[in-house]
Amino acid sequence: MTNYLEFEKPLAEIEGKAEELRAMARANEEMDIEKEAAALDRKAETMLQDLYRDLTPWRKCQVARHPDRPHCRDYIEALFNEYTPLAGDRNFADDHAVMGGLARLGDMPVMVIGHEKGHDTKSRIERNFGMARPEGYRKAIRLMDMADRFGLPVISLVDTPGAYPGKGAEERGQSEAIARSTEKCLSLRVPLVSVIIGEGGSGGAVAFATGNTVMMLEHSIYSVISPEGCASILWKDAEKMREAAEALRLTAQDLKALGVIDRIISEPIGGAQRGREDTIRAVGKALEVELKALSEKKPDALRKDRRRKYLDMGSKGLAA
């Protein structure tokens, strides 16, 4: 069953019709519908291409949040060998919204961390929809520290609506945990490569994504606030999320133009949710290329360049 997004409804209709025809033909062997069904298929494909050729920022938000998009766990399972999860912040708990551990990318040992949203109701609740608590950031800090000590590159996979706004999270220092995690990213003497694979939600994303190289999937988003949140504050109307998504410049394409990210990884036509394996493979390839480029740098240079990059960021705006 394909999960169609709101703007994909016309596509759902055509694909549904083709499916119906084929079902009828299976029931009645004398019917020859293949020609018609194939025509519908072609129509659907053209429509899919048209829909995805120029996605509006709000549509990109919907694609970025698509439940069938590959999530952190899918990437880890497909791209890495010997993944060995390491748990806990040694203070309070293990946060299941954050995955992390040792793994091999090809032969190379690395530390991988990321937000995991879950794929069904049960796992989504267990993962808290990818919204980390302070323990998640503190686990990440611990793992980054370990990577630093042993000279292992760090890979972070970012996919979070934001840090969890809960009572306990606040009491246990959500802001401090995020601040320290960002600080840790900036202090590493090993390569840190980040990929925003879905949603890069505000401070909760920055805490992992302050890397030497930051990449985004073509239809992922990275923003200071959700379009809904921005709309309700600045427009006083949460329904103005389309306008807010437009104004916030949260697409990979705008962020590349602003110099905030370094590279865009293409998604298959119809988005990562329609070509999961291709997407995962493309991310794997990009990671290898970027890590190789960084492997030539000395530890101190990795740290210094990363800090310089953030100090200089934003000196130019978007062209008029």
């Binding site: 706004p165 809960g166 606040e170 320290r180 200071v224 960021m313 705006g317």
Partner: protein, 312 residues
């Protein structure tokens, strides 16, 4: 709306600046309802004389009270690209900026200064909540970097007074990028072996709390200041329960181990001097209201702002 209301009225208003004709000679304390005479309130550092409620204080007023003899020199902050995203909501961002500049008389939401407190040279930065909620955009990032670089160059401690709703949405992702930017800045100070002290004032929330405002060597807050990542309303909507009394207030954070101290505004200066001088292994401070230093500082680089001049 016509040209009269758009053009003539603003011009007429500007003939009477805020300071010359205070709108309210008497200010009602929002906490206890006491009517307070504005001059008395100013002398008491904008703390209610009846109930000790800490009201907002502008960076300029704060610095005047903080630095010896009220003398400080502004540190220049590089001006960033205005409106980098061409942001427009119901208003254009440049218009919002201009309105904030007009109502506060300040350039942006942070003021950086150098001077002496208790004869201890420092660099200080203070965020201005009255300027677009103190929000952190490129300018605030530039201000913190300028302050940090100045502190390192002069080998002085850096004291930062935070007050902000969070990141400035109108600068989108670039406001978010001030989190790592400012983190690099305050780490430069710390790595130079210099103290970085944060004084959290009401309110300090969002991306500001989740970056430079929580990274101080010493974390001090003013009484009852709201300090949080997610605001109470967002949390109540998420967890659908009432939050406990005093939740996310300075005293609550102190209880939960997130702060070193909660200090009354009138005690802040002495505390800062005491702490800084110990961290710097200097002799104990000379107490009391010190006159402006005689030799160490040149005359203020800029004309004292009209605000200060008119105060006298």
């Amino acid at each position: 709306m016509n040209w009269i209301s758009n053009y003539v009225r603003p011009r007429i208003n500007s003939l009477f600046s805020r300071r010359e004709v205070p709108e309210n000679l008497w200010i009602k304390c929002p906490e206890c309802g006491q009517m307070l005479f504005h001059r008395e309130l100013e002398q008491n550092l904008h703390v209610c004389t009846a109930c000790d409620h800490h009201m907002a204080i502008t960076p300029r007023d704060r610095f005047q009270a903080l630095f010896d003899g009220g003398i400080f020199v502004e540190v220049e902050v590089p001006t960033p690209v205005t409106d980098p995203l061409h942001f427009k909501d119901q208003k254009r961002y440049p218009d919002r900026l201009k309105a904030a500049q007009k109502s506060t008389g300040e350039k942006e939401a942070m003021l950086v200064a150098e001077g002496e407190i208790g004869r201890t040279p420092i660099v200080a930065a203070a965020q201005d909540f009255s300027f677009m909620g103190g929000s952190m955009g490129m300018y605030v990032g530039n201000a913190i970097i300028a302050a940090a670089e100045r502190a390192v160059a002069l080998r002085r401690p850096f004291v930062l007074f935070s007050a902000a709703g969070g990141a400035r949405m109108q600068e989108g992702i670039l406001s978010l990028m001030q989190m790592p930017r400012t983190t690099v800045a305050v780490d430069m100070v710390k790595e130079a072996g210099l103290p970085y002290i944060v004084v959290l004032t009401h309110p300090t929330t969002g991306g500001v709390t989740a970056s430079y405002a929580m990274l101080g060597d010493v974390q001090i807050a003013e009484p009852n200041a709201l300090i949080c990542f997610a605001g109470p309303r967002v949390i109540e909507q998420t967890i659908r329960e009432k939050l406990p009394e005093g939740f996310q207030r300075a005293e609550y954070l102190l209880d939960h181990g997130m702060l070193d101290r909660v200090s009354h505004r009138k005690d802040l200066k002495d505390e800062l001097v005491t702490i800084l001088r110990m961290l710097l292994k200097q002799s104990p401070a000379v107490r009391g209201d010190l006159p402006a230093p005689e030799t160490t500082l040149p005359a203020p680089a800029k004309e004292p702002s009209t605000k200060e001049a008119k105060k006298e």
